[in-house]
Amino acid sequence: MSKRKMTHQPQEETMDALEAHLAGTLKRVTPSRDLVQRLQGRLQMPSRKEITLRLRDWNRLFLIFGGVMSGMLLLVTLARAFYYLVGSRPRV
């Protein structure tokens, strides 16, 4: 029991020291006010109109996606049918 304590104590001390060093190293840095404002200046907010249009566009996008997928499915079905009727027939 005492041996276990002996081996664990230095480990705990190392961990505590490591935590203390991490706390000392990983400190919050303060970007300058100038940098914060410069970054804000780079941001371009989309207008309300754009946002509503984008939301409506989602519906359109789903329709387009659905249409494309249906078309692809139709093509695959036709190709399979063609292969079944022509391609797989044994030659005499």
Binding site: V29, Q40, I51
Partner: protein, 190 residues
């Protein structure tokens, strides 16, 4: 706290409708946190600046898609930052640039420049080790020490339980300790 949360909900609702001022408030509230996160993940302030701007630009463009499902807005922002940092690391590895191991010391709150200089070598060694950890562990350490977040708060951001965060933290410390031992670095000298 609940009043603040309510306020954030209001601001978020306005921002998602294209209100510039509302997004400006969100930006003011989170810019320092995101900058810190990106700064420690990239290791240099120039890329941190650029990536922080991109995080908020992306957030602004997609804020209409943000839906509050019990996940805080900060978690959403950190997720964007995490993805952009991951892309940044991928691009750098493709370009095979020389890694920037020197993290320039920016002014930290309540610190004197002289103290920074004295500690910089030791800090740099530790920071190099931290940056070699898997991204998830780096995130954990940044949130814990830079943001002073509790395990529960970190769990909400990382999408893990409090227990899982605690366990990951312990394993991270063990990994760092092993690395320190491998490199014969002693931190107990203080």
């Amino acid at each position: 706290m609940s009043e603040q949360e309510y306020k954030e909900e209001e601001v978020l609702a306005l921002a998602s409708q294209g209100d510039r001022d509302a997004f400006g408030q969100l930006y003011e509230h989170y810019v320092e946190r995101i900058f810190n996160y990106v700064y420690y993940r990239t290791g240099n302030s120039h890329d941190a600046e650029d990536l922080t701007a991109r995080v908020f630009q992306r957030a602004m463009n997609h804020i209409v898609n943000y839906t509050d499902r019990g996940v805080p807005f900060s978690a959403w922002l950190y997720r964007i930052a995490h993805n952009l940092v991951a892309n940044w690391h991928r691009d750098r590895s493709r370009k095979q640039e020389i890694p920037l191991d020197d993290l320039p010391i920016l002014p930290t709150k309540g610190d004197h420049p002289e103290r920074n200089l004295v500690r910089s070598q030791e800090e740099e060694a530790l920071l190099r080790m931290i940056r070699k950890l898997p991204p998830e562990r780096q995130n954990l350490l940044i949130l814990k020490f830079v943001e002073n977040m509790s395990n529960a708060e970190i769990g909400r951001i990382m999408g893990r339980s409090e227990g899982a965060v605690k366990s990951l933290y312990h394993r991270t410390l063990l990994a760092l300790r092993d690395q320190l031992e491998d490199q014969n670095l002693n931190l107990e000298g203080e």
